[in-house]
Symmetry: C3
């Protein structure tokens, strides 16, 4: 078995056996899908956003995932409190800047969150990642108007500024640290037609950072698992509606053989 | 091909090719389903409700859909800001008065929203539409206690007051302007057993108004697409649970032949 | 037919024929699933949380279900108002203390809700129920770290304190009043892998309390229906994703024969 496949399968098994508690402060649209994706992958999800409890919840969590998909002021305040608590405890933090660039509020909120605490991994699409470095306006809402390669420079800049990993999702996912790049080519063309696939990838990234000390490898494993489960689901469904259930099934059923046959990392 | 079918198919293709950005301020229950329905139909959904960003989001959107299904004060304020911004930009507005009549708060909120900006299309069930004209109390929560025909007079009154189209959903959908009525008989009996079918119809109405300058035709097309996809889904599912995925699949897979065979408009 | 099966089937038919309006103040993660579960079972769900309308909504509801899964201060205030209104009207109240014990805020909120109005039924997992009596900290977030039997004493204490029924879900569900215990052994091992199964059980408990004056029997019937539908769904699905739709289908399709064949109550 290819070493990359062995490493991914080892982490999948770790998540299944340890069931790390992943604390999500995420958007309304994807909460159900995200929770089910984490459960199917073997993790234990919890959603909590009240300023009165996020610190306590971070206190028992193995990873914190912040997603600004449907942000508003009370949520942003809680995100700040949770970020600081996670930083103090030293647990991994994943930040998903959903729709950054689409409104000034989103772009500025992400900047303020990045100032509060450098995340372990930033995971977004190419337009979102670019918006964090270039002062450009997104015009496609939460969908990307760029290929992942268009975001390579921005991702590297961010990675260096924050000493973090930047995971750019797209047809080819690109996982970027200050000096390394991993490319994952798994996935299916239908995936952008289902809401929350990126958010699920961010949540899974949280689960992997909880069981793997290398943020670069953890982020790449999450994108690979997401992509492989997406391929399996695409083969078992008629369209984006039945894909939804098939994707969750695949996260649950995926085995060593699926990973060995399908994983496509750093293939030119 | 029947002219009505040709016109619907043309609009379906326009949505698929243009992917209009539909900005939804909608309820928690249906956000995921609504986003997936819009994506499957070819549109690009965005959900954003913070008063700090709705004006910016309206600024890049092709249609605004306001749905009061789980309203509260901060959301109502944002709806007002978004409505005014949409009016200034001249983009179409769809208002779904979910549960109007069930509580004074819902009824009064809808009245205040109507005062802020006349929508392009109001889409609701018969009880909701009646509640906007008659001072009657709904007793079935968000479900209708009336047939669509019971709401014809109320719909016409509203259409004249606001210079808008009123789309009344039910076993037969009735799309009403100041002086015209279109009836759409597509759909399946199981559809009221799935939450959010009406909300999806409202969101699709937003997508159609973004590609068709006739609000009457756009609203009728949305109900027809919703109904035809519902028929296809009912044939491919065992109950309301599997209907859910099959409906999204059908929105994605529907083709010219499905429309030609199934469309039932203004048939007595 | 076994008397227990006859009683359950009678209540299922009552829900289907009366379609009781169940008012839910529940969490974001499960709203869609909960609404669809209630609709599939034959009830009429409504979700409303604004302090401006909960009293009106309680005024037309047949049961109130309070679920603290994603609580925050404005929601807690509305829960208090709704609880008092439900108590005044004398409609049944179900309280689901999701994640009680995981944070002080959750534990204290549940205590304050219990002071505001004793519910008809408290439904939670073993860790949640224990947290309401013992001052112990949950470490698994919203998942249980205990077997149901570990919560028997706590459940009985609560039942006596509040003159209510306590329904503890787990591999074997335990429905406890001051002096009785019913055990329901239906269900499938995959159910903890789908988010919101407990929340659906709480909502169904609300529907059953609306048609059956015995809270003990109503709570047991809800757990039995939930468990039987879960068994049926497990047989018709490949994993937790397709289970989701199959479970809703099963709630809708379940018939007298399914109940007779499958019901397992108080079997040692």
């Amino acid at each position: 078995m290819h070493p990359a496949a062995t490493a991914l399968w080892r982490d999948v098994q770790r998540i299944r056996s340890k069931a790390p508690l992943v604390h999500n402060i995420t958007n309304y649209v994807v909460m159900n899908f995200t929770a089910n994706a984490l459960l199917a992958a073997g993790a234990s999800p919890v959603m909590a956003h009240a300023v009165d409890e996020v610190e306590d919840m971070v206190g028992i969590a193995s990873a914190l995932v912040i997603n600004i998909g449907t942000l508003s002021q009370p949520w942003v305040e809680s995100m700040h409190v949770a970020l600081r608590a996670a930083k103090r405890r030293g647990i991994p933090i994943v930040l998903d800047p959903v729709g950054s660039g689409a409104t000034r509020y989103r772009t500025e909120t992400v900047q303020s969150l990045l100032l509060a605490a450098s995340p372990t991994v930033i995971r977004g699409n190419a337009s979102e990642i670019r918006s964090l470095v270039h002062a450009e306006r997104a015009t496609r809402g939460v969908d990307s108007a760029h290929d992942t390669e268009d975001a390579l420079d921005a991702a590297r800049t961010l990675a260096r500024q924050h000493g973090c990993v930047v995971s750019v999702s797209g047809a080819v996912d690109m996982i970027v640290s200050a000096d390394e790049v991993i490319r994952v080519s798994n996935g299916a063309p239908i995936m952008p037609k289902i809401t929350g696939m990126g958010c699920a990838a961010s949540a899974l990234t949280g689960a992997f950072t909880a069981v793997n000390d290398s943020p670069l490898q953890a982020a790449a494993h999450a994108m690979a698992l997401n992509g492989i489960a997406g391929e399996m689901a695409a083969e078992q469904s008629r369209g984006p509606g039945t894909f939804h259930g098939a994707f969750i099934d695949s996260l649950y059923l995926i085995d060593e053989g699926d990973i060995e046959r399908r994983l496509r990392v750093n293939e030119a």
